[in-house]
């Protein structure tokens, strides 16, 4: 690696001096820039500069800007060479989804040699390069190499990153501890290590919580009847009424309508764990037509005939392809220009918020069933790693205030998404050049959007702020951290991700203040039901339209700013009050008492209030 990069950076200046051969003065200043850039281009430990190029950045908002672009093995960094513009952008290469050449020898105009870079975070970057010295070809090849390392047998940057943090984010989630927090194991539910080496189910975590009454053999037999062996396992248990949320994949019913006694019995065992007589509620996230259609490929759903003690509802949430197209349409109306004349109907035609509405509605139903003590809930879609993860994690967020704290949310993501095999690598396409891959889909983004909608509706209920959510989304793509890499726990273990990479939670938890919502009020017992009505759902402007300088929102907003001022004032007053008290007490009994420290003073002050 080091060799490659040093060669690349060595060849770059050569290229430059070539173009300015008869201007030796300039070429030294060029060198000066190069020295300078080592200071001005931010670099992470483990990050190496590959090349730099003079380019015209074709800014969709401010027109062409002359600049110098620096490419490292982690980022693309642009500095403006124009004095009146301070533009700098800093894009992790992982965010790049597609690189295309535009124009060329046949097109006219000085900026005809262009590169169009499509990003996964709702923007495009366009550059024009000089025709001389094959600078576009160079840039295209280097970018392709480092943005899509998997296609070139190179490691993802996360494996080269040598950043150190004072907190280890990999320690945040410990499944045993999380289940213990939920009061598990108990008399009805046990922890099983049957999947210790991922032999029961490759895409499930090693540790699973299952009904006490189901033996490991039962589990194996059930696995045979569930798509990709993703058997029903516990996600969350209600601390009081002991109703549970259980997740799995679709049953392998097929065209012939096959049944499996073990599966039927297993679901009944789940139903009986809390000694309720009511039926088990099954939420199939799919639209019913899709569930029926899935029979053709061997899947299906739990029929009334086979599962007497269960009641099935379809939640009508569409598949990953629909979601992908929907987000594409969102991009069309917000980037680069925000659709003006028919903003609302354009927004409606993307269906994005409608999908959000359906996901939230489904999650509310799950949460309500469990919270009201009506019945336990089993959630699945087709494979139980996309829509199912959305539903269980959102329902858990509504039910359990722990997940609304910063660490709680990290645990929720780590548990319901990462450990239960949401296929991040396939859905995001980390380091992969196949931008049109049908496996890609913004399912996790959709979940984070739902969380944002909830935080908008309940502005005091979440410990984290919008920045936290945006940071998570940025690093969903960046490949700087190992957190979202690969498709499941078994693959991560094979690659030794926790040993070889840094966790995103290390970055966040070592700098928590930045991600805190000042209005947060801890409320233990509160179930949050957002209102899943279009009247309240909004497009997340600060995320989807954040590249447009015109739409950029004031951060923080007026109320938050005022609140922060008041907080500072309060702290100041408390300090002054302590000082006054100190002065008084030392006046009264100057010799008798030792000077109290401010922290000792505090309770005294407070009792006075």
């Amino acid at each position: 690696m080091v060799g490659v990069s040093s060669m690349a950076s060595a060849s770059a200046p050569k290229c430059n001096s070539h173009t300015s051969e008869n201007e030796p003065v300039k070429s030294t200043s060029q060198d000066g820039v190069n020295c300078d850039l080592n200071e001005t281009v931010p670099r992470l430990p483990g990050e190496t500069l590959i090349t730099d190029k003079e380019v015209i950045y074709i800014c969709p908002f401010n027109g062409p800007i002359k600049g110098r672009v620096y490419i490292t093995n982690y980022r693309l960094y642009l500095r403006s060479l124009e004095t009146d513009s301070t533009l700098i952008f800093d894009v992790p290469l992982g965010v790049i989804s597609r690189i295309e050449k535009m124009g060329g020898a046949t097109s006219r105009g000085e900026n005809s040699y262009g590169l169009d870079i499509t990003c996964k975070d709702m923007r495009n970057l366009r550059f024009a390069l000089k025709q001389e010295g094959h600078s576009r070809r160079d840039m295209f090849e280097i970018l392709t190499r480092y943005a899509f390392p998997l296609a070139h047998s190179l490691p993802l940057f996360a494996f080269l990153n040598e950043e150190k943090f004072n907190v280890d984010g990999w320690m945040v989630y410990n499944p045993v501890e999380e289940y213990r927090r939920q009061g598990l194991p108990n008399h009805q539910w046990r922890i099983t290590f049957i999947n210790k080496c991922y032999e029961l189910c490759e895409t499930y975590p090693a540790l699973l919580v299952v009904p006490y009454r189901a033996s490991d053999d039962d589990l194996r037999r059930v696995a045979a009847f569930r798509s990709r062996n993703r058997i029903p396992v516990l996600s969350w248990i209600h601390p009081e009424n002991k109703m549970v949320i259980v997740r799995c994949s679709q049953p392998l019913v097929g065209m012939s309508g096959k049944r499996n006694k073990d599966d039927e019995k297993y679901l009944d065992v789940i139903r009986e764990t809390n000694r309720q007589l009511s039926k088990l509620t099954i939420y199939d996230a799919r639209p019913s037509v899709n569930a029926v259609a899935n029979k053709a490929t061997g899947g299906g759903y739990e029929s009334d005939d086979a599962y007497h003690n269960a009641e099935l509802f379809f939640l009508d949430i569409h598949n990953i392809h629909v979601m992908r197209e929907s987000l594409k349409k969102v991009k069309d109306i917000v980037y680069p220009n925000v659709e003006e004349s028919h903003w609302l109907s354009s927004l409606e035609s993307t269906h994005w918020l409608e999908h959000i509405k359906l996901v939230l509605t489904g999650a509310i139903q799950v949460a309500d069933k469990v919270s009201s003590g009506k019945s336990s809930v089993l959630v699945h879609c087709s494979d139980g790693w996309d829509r199912t993860a959305q539903l269980t994690s959102l329902a858990m967020l509504m039910l359990d205030s722990f997940y609304r704290s910063i660490e709680g949310f990290e645990i929720l993501v780590q548990k319901e998404w990462i450990s239960f095999g949401h296929k991040f690598a396939s859905r995001i396409g980390h380091g992969d050049k196949n931008h049109a891959d049908a496996d890609r889909s913004p399912i996790f983004l959709q979940f984070v959007d739902c969380v944002w909608q909830m935080s908008k509706q309940f502005p005091t209920a979440f410990e984290f702020n919008e920045r936290f959510l945006i940071t998570i989304l940025d690093h969903l793509y960046s490949c700087r951290f190992g957190t979202f890499l690969l498709n499941c726990e078994s693959a991560r273990e094979k690659q030794k991700v926790t040993e070889r990479t840094v966790s995103l939670w290390s970055l966040i938890n070592s700098n928590k203040e930045k991600f805190k919502n000042p209005f947060y009020t801890k409320e233990i017992n509160r179930v949050l039901y957002p209102v899943a009505s279009m009247r309240h759902l909004e497009l997340w402007v600060n995320y989807y339209i954040r590249w447009n300088p015109r739409i950029k929102q004031q951060q923080p907003n007026a109320v938050e700013q005022r609140y922060m001022e008041l907080l500072a004032l309060r702290d100041d007053y408390i300090k002054r009050l302590e000082e006054l008290q100190l002065a008084n007490s030392s006046k009264v009994s100057s010799a008798s008492t030792s000077p109290s420290s401010p922290s000792q003073m505090m309770p005294h002050v407070q009792t006075h209030f």
Binding site: N294, W343, T521, N525, S533, M534, I551, A558
Partner: protein
């Protein structure tokens, strides 16, 4: 520990619905708390208010979860309001009475608040007006403040139904004489109650002194003077008795065309440029008269347009901007979106919510108003020129634009009294025809033009590039002002550029909330003012959420800081007095919801609200929808 404990549950308590703004302080009318809480059972009449008719055994429908419940009681109609007196209305606790409107109860509908009345006959809903042949079994009242009431009359005696229904229809629909407005009998009966609090007082602009004070406040007194030429409305009834004109303007000019064609001062900017308004001269065909008009206006313009010292730009609101009809049509469509009869209707409209909103054009009108105001602000602030608003009577769009500009530019107008004074100055004294625009006298032939004044200020949007200024110079201007003046109207390109630069520049800097404030006007930033429009809709209620959640935190913190401040002051004076903690208005946050303070407890349960409507067709995505997530055949194992 988790569980059902969703906030706001609890027993059926009542919902205060303030919908009336009065300068008379409620506490000056009711001092006895007991009397207030008892009001629901016994009809409470204001001074001068008279009971006209009533009916008993009426059921009022209350939306509860997905079903409707009836509350039995009396329905009455007075010369001021329609009121429902429920038999089993539980009393409010202390915290809630604080938020209760002390004049208009939860089940009171002032006669002027009634928008439309429907009757239900054999399950069919029909609009009710005039003489009825048949009386409905159910009465639905849509209010102008967007409340919807359902009264069931099935158990009411027939004569009572007749009396109450025809009574309500008559008293809410029949044309009225001005002197019959309840206001007058109230004022006569309640004369002794005059709200005067020396502090915090609203400037009424009914004296020369008030105008002088405003001139002084804005430093407009250098170039403008307050005149009393219209004292006793000698010249014109349309204009206030006192107003402000450019200092060099001779008073006899005001008399010449009854105040038409006179630049009247609205406000002065810190840099000396001023916002003026002018009502157009009457339209004339006669060339001789036109010539007279022209030379008169030329004279007037020489006073206010003296380059390079003083430059004026004319903004013709009559022809280059929204029409009153457009505003009225849009609002009628828009309000309909919030007058929702039941849960099914709510969810049915929810799927196509955005296109419904768009087709009303209301938000686009809001955007255009804000944009126009920003354009004028740019002229005043950045170009340092005077702006003259021109309109036929200078009393509709002039009021709207001029007050918006002042809210943006003058922090004083964003205080409570400052805003009230602004309304008084620009709308009340500005001669806005409230009586006609709100059709208070219900003259059916008169078109109702309504103006929604209160535009949420923090709303932005995407830049409409369609210029409001057409290339062709407007006829009216040409005729009335002559060619020289029409040149003063700037060309569209220049204006767009200036506007864009000014707007972008302002938004790229940190906001000073005490200085100039420009709203965002991009599409995604112009939103429905939920607090007003959704306030009575139980389906839209976010229990324990909404903006009020952060506001209550803010208020709590303010109280804490205040009490700390007091503590420090006490220490300084070495007084060791303990102070009782002031009760926090909003401390009981469990009862709050996004509808606060309107429908305080409209929803009685902690159940989540679930959409009932289905999915809309995906259209061209149907194929995708049918695909499977993964292309692996699971096999018919």
């Amino acid at each position: 520990m988790l569980g059902k404990g969703v906030v706001g549950g609890g027993g059926g308590t009542k919902t205060p619905k303030p919908s009336f703004v009065s300068y008379v302080r409620p506490e000056e009318i009711h001092t006895n708390e007991k009397e207030v809480t008892e009001k629901e059972v016994t009809l409470h009449l204001l001074p001068g208010e008279q009971l006209l008719c009533e009916a008993s055994a009426v059921l009022k429908y209350v939306q509860e979860e997905s079903c409707q419940r009836g509350v039995c009681g009396r329905l009455v109609c007075t010369d001021f309001k329609i009121a429902f007196l429920g038999d089993d209305e539980p009393a409010l606790d202390n915290a809630e009475t604080q938020f209760k409107n002390k004049i208009i109860g939860e089940n009171d509908i002032t006669l002027h608040c009634v928008d439309q009345i429907f009757g239900v006959f054999d399950e069919k809903k029909k609009s009710l007006f005039g003489q009825l042949k048949k009386y409905p079994e159910k009465l639905i009242i849509h209010c102008k403040d967007l409340r919807v009431f359902h009264f069931c009359l099935r158990y009411t005696k027939e004569e009572e139904v007749k009396r109450i229904v025809s009574g309500i229809i008559h008293h809410t629909q029949a044309p009225k004489l001005l002197k019959r407005l309840f206001l007058f009998s109230y004022a006569a009966a309640a004369q002794s109650i005059i709200a005067t609090s020396p502090k915090d007082h609203t400037v009424m602009f009914d004296t020369l002194k008030d105008w002088c004070w405003e001139l002084e406040r804005t430093k407009g007194n250098v170039k403008y003077k307050a005149v009393s030429v219209n004292e006793g409305y000698r010249i014109c009834e349309r204009l206030p008795a006192y107003f402000v004109v450019p200092t060099p303007l001779p008073e006899e000019d005001v008399r010449r065309f009854q105040g038409h064609g006179i630049p009247i001062w609205c406000w002065s900017c810190h840099n000396g440029s001023a916002l003026l308004k002018m009502s157009a001269l009457p339209k004339e065909q006669d060339d001789v008269i036109l010539q007279i008009h022209k030379s008169f206006l030329d004279g007037i313009y020489k006073i206010i347009h003296r380059p390079p010292y003083e430059i004026v730009k004319t903004e013709d609101l009559s022809s280059n901007f929204l029409s009153l009809q457009e505003i009225q049509t849009a609002y009628s469509k828009f309000k309909q979106l919030f007058l929702i009869d039941n849960s099914t209707e709510f969810w049915d409209t929810d799927i196509k919510w955005f296109s419904l909103l768009e087709s009303s054009s209301w938000l686009d009108i809001i955007r255009r108003c804000l944009k126009k105001a920003i354009e004028i602000t740019e002229c005043l602030e950045a170009q340092n020129v005077n702006v003259l608003l021109l309109e036929e009577n200078a009393s509709d769009l002039c009021c709207l634009i001029s007050s918006l500009v002042q809210v943006m530019m003058d922090a004083h107008c964003r205080t409570k009294t400052g805003f009230q004074s602004l309304i008084q100055k620009e709308w009340v004294m500005g001669g806005h025809c409230f009586l006609d625009r709100c059709n208070h006298l219900r003259q059916s032939d008169k078109e109702e033009h309504r103006r929604q004044l209160s535009l949420p200020l923090t709303q932005p949007k995407s830049s409409p590039k369609r210029g409001f200024f057409r290339e062709e110079t407007d006829h009216l201007i040409k005729n009335l002002l002559g060619k020289r003046i029409s040149k003063l109207i700037n060309s569209s390109d220049e204006l767009q550029d200036n506007f864009r630069e000014f707007y972008d520049n302002w938004h790229s800097k940190p906001t000073d909330y005490h200085g100039l404030l420009l709203p965002h006007i991009e599409g995604p930033e112009i939103k429905v003012w939920a607090q007003r429009y959704l306030r009575w809709i139980p389906e839209a209620q976010i229990l324990g959420g909404g903006r009020v959640a952060t506001m209550s935190k803010l208020i709590e913190m303010m109280e804490e800081v205040q009490s700390l401040q007091e503590k420090i002051d006490e220490r300084h004076h070495s007084q060791q007095r303990l102070q009782a903690e002031a009760p926090c208005l909003l401390r009981n946050s469990a009862r709050l919801s996004s509808l606060f303070p309107f429908a305080l407890l409209q929803r009685h349960s902690s159940k989540p609200i679930l959409p009932t409507s289905g999915w809309k067709a995906l259209g061209d995505e149907e194929d995708l929808a049918k695909r499977e997530d993964e292309f692996v055949d699971l096999g018919d194992v």
